[in-house]
């Protein structure tokens, strides 16, 4: 039988309200997860910071190549980096995510640089030059300041000796993400091509599970499947034969984020940077504004921290209001349908058949609701992929459905059989 327009509108309203309810829950749980991860790490400790992105402006490949050929020019970068890391106005976090070409790699495809991306990548292949099995694997390179800023800690092994690493090191101690624990042990070596040079990585330790950093607009870039390579503490040039590796390394290292205590004006940072440039004779840089997502996130995080009680109260009120209107709508719909069911029962439809019919209506409603929730998640929150939140949301939806189906069953039996 068809619903009346009246009850069609109510049905749509019910579906929309339920979907809203679930989406709200999903979002809240996702953000709560993000916040608690953030709070666990140094990044969001009491320290309040503003963040900027620093990058070089040598976009023309020829210009870039020429620059790298000149010892003089390269010296300016080395000194620029030196000035950056010794600034008193800000902290310079040097971070890059260039994949490594690992030979005879023991891990599977989940560590592949292309894993989870749409491009697919080439997987494991035989390297032309070395003749060895090779795979492009995920890697993060960062300096000591970044390592400390994000409060990265190890679950086993030891933090590399930062001062033992130089641009010329061909054996580098590295830290592996948590997922590597079953694959390598402390002391193992991995042969890789790192910035165009064959390098031996020696496993020094393993990161805590769920360690994350801010990288290129993504607040929680997890390091569980990453090889973390420590950058040298200072830059020094060897002879021109090493320029290919060192050129890339130097330029990679001056890219990163500048963090300054909150309240430091952008002018102060720019003037400090220009002093740095003058001292080092390197001027090909630009400062980009804080990624807006981060500002919003920081704002929200502060808001959440400062008003936690109020927010929880608000959440409870919203939940109760939504829950109450949902149960009201659901009751109104059932009352309407009950009238029809009573007539059908009087005409000879069995209670069993009517309960089945009603359950089918509910299946339709909740399937529509799940559809709306999934669409909303894809369209509105594509960046959030929180399995916990998704699980909780689906459990909630199923629970609401099951509770409603059973209570409706009871109500139909009582209401219809009771004489008028």
């Amino acid at each position: 039988m068809f619903s009346t327009i009246h009850s069609l509108a109510q049905t749509l309203l019910k579906v929309a309200a339920t979907a809203l309810f679930i989406i709200t829950t999903y979002t809240v749980i996702s953000f709560t997860g993000d916040i608690s991860t953030g709070l666990d790490q140094g990044f969001s400790q009491e320290r309040q910071v503003d963040m900027y992105h620093l990058t070089d402006t040598l976009v023309d490949p020829e210009e870039f190549w020429n620059f790298r050929q000149s010892q003089e020019q390269m010296e300016t970068i080395a000194s620029f980096y030196q000035e950056l890391t010794s600034s008193e106005t800000f902290t310079f976090l040097s971070i890059f995510n260039q994949p490594l070409f690992a030979h005879d790699f023991m891990g599977g495809e989940t560590f592949d640089a292309s894993f989870g991306t749409e491009s697919g990548g080439q997987g494991e292949y035989i390297d032309d030059i070395s003749g060895r099995k090779t795979r492009a694997v995920k890697s993060i390179q960062l300096n000591q300041q970044a390592f400390q800023f994000y409060g990265l800690t190890l679950s086993s092994g030891s933090v590399p000796q930062w001062n033992s690493i130089t641009p010329q090191s061909i054996e580098i101690p590295v830290v592996l993400g948590h997922d590597y624990q079953e694959i390598y042990s402390v002391g193992d070596i991995i042969d890789v091509e790192y910035y165009f040079r064959e390098t031996t990585l020696r496993v020094s330790g393993f990161l805590e599970e769920g360690s994350s950093i801010y990288l290129q607009g993504t607040f929680n870039t997890y390091l569980d499947d990453q090889i973390v390579i420590p950058y040298p503490q200072s830059l020094s040039l060897s002879d021109s034969s090493a320029f290919e590796h060192e050129g890339i390394l130097f330029f990679a290292m001056i890219g990163g984020n500048i963090v300054a205590p909150q309240g430091t004006s952008e002018e102060m940072i720019l003037s400090s940077l220009s002093e740095t440039a003058t001292a080092s004779h390197f001027h090909d840089y630009t400062l980009l504004n804080v990624p807006t997502y981060l500002i919003e996130f920081t704002l929200m995080r502060n808001l959440v921290r400062d008003n936690l009680a109020t927010l929880i109260a608000l959440g409870v009120v919203i939940t109760i209001t939504l829950g109450a209107s949902l149960s009201f709508l659901s009751r109104a719909l059932l009352t309407q349908r009950s009238h029809r069911y009573r007539i059908l029962w009087t005409s000879g439809a069995s209670l069993h058949g009517l309960v089945k019919k009603n359950t089918l209506y509910l299946v339709g409603e909740y399937a529509a609701c799940a559809g709306v929730v999934l669409m909303a998640r894809l369209v509105l929150l594509p960046n959030i992929q929180n399995i916990t939140a998704l699980t909780v949301a689906s459990l909630m939806l199923s629970t609401i459905f099951i509770t409603e189906a059973f209570s409706h069953r009871v109500i139909i039996h009582r209401k219809l059989v009771k004489p008028t």
Binding site: M1, T4, H6, H339, R340, R342, I343, L344, W345, T346, S347, G348, A349, S350, L351, H352, G353, V417, P419, T420
Partner: protein
């Protein structure tokens, strides 16, 4: 024939006491009887009897049989009995006010054998074929009652159990409804009607009275009938 013997029925009231309605009562609708009126003072148990006969109330003691075969006192068998044999007209009409007459009549057709043409036929029979697309809320009480009658008839039942079908109607409308009933009796439909109306009593072949928890043939009704 329809037979219900040794009927015991009581209600447990909310204050904890028990309200006896029937005590070893017997009900029969004989094969040749086309109409039977059930009378009795208010609260005697007329509606209760009709609810039991149609299986809407299964909380009773007694032996209920149809054409000599016992009817099981369970939900699904009684629902099937209603679906296949019984049309019900209730004291309140129980129509969906926002739906059309046609839609409402179709609700009486639980089995898929019934078609829209059947619904139109019975709306025609109760004299409402011109307003079949109207909404029920636009109808008068008498018209609504006729829709409820059409709904009870649409499955082409053997019996119609009607609970005070003319209770809210004026005399002219009551005459019209009784005219419809008599016409249907000619087509083989048999009526059990709970009523307070002398006019309804007068057109029924037999009258039984709910009295002292029993069902007794009403001599006044008989007399009236024989006088006709």
């Amino acid at each position: 024939m329809l037979q219900l013997t040794h009927l015991h029925k009581s209600f447990h009231e909310s204050n904890g006491s028990t309200r006896q309605v029937f005590d070893d009562a017997d009900f029969r609708l004989l094969p040749h009887e086309k109409s039977l009126a059930v009378v009795g003072r208010s609260g005697a148990g007329k509606s209760t009897l009709l609810r039991i006969l149609s299986g809407l109330d299964q909380q009773f003691e007694g032996l209920y049989s149809f054409k000599g075969a016992p009817l099981a006192q369970n939900e699904s068998e009684m629902a099937a009995f209603r679906r296949d044999h019984v049309g019900i007209v209730t004291q309140r009409y129980e129509l969906l006010p926002h739906r059309s007459l046609l839609n409402n009549v179709m609700l009486g057709a639980v089995s898929p054998r019934t078609t829209r043409e059947d619904a139109e036929h019975y709306l025609d029979l109760v004299g409402l074929s011109d307003s079949k697309r109207k909404k029920v809320r636009e109808l008068s009480g008498g018209e609504a009652q006729r829709v409820a009658i059409a709904r009870a008839l649409v499955k082409n039942p053997d019996f119609v159990f009607a609970d005070e079908p003319t209770g809210a109607l004026d005399e002219a409308t009551e005459d019209a409804v009784l005219g419809i009933f008599q016409r249907l009796q000619g087509e083989g439909v048999r009526f059990v009607i709970a009523t307070h109306s002398n006019k309804v009593k007068s057109v029924c072949e037999r009258v039984v009275r709910v009295h002292n928890y029993k069902l007794v043939d009403d001599p006044i009704g008989k007399q009236h009938h024989h006088n006709q």
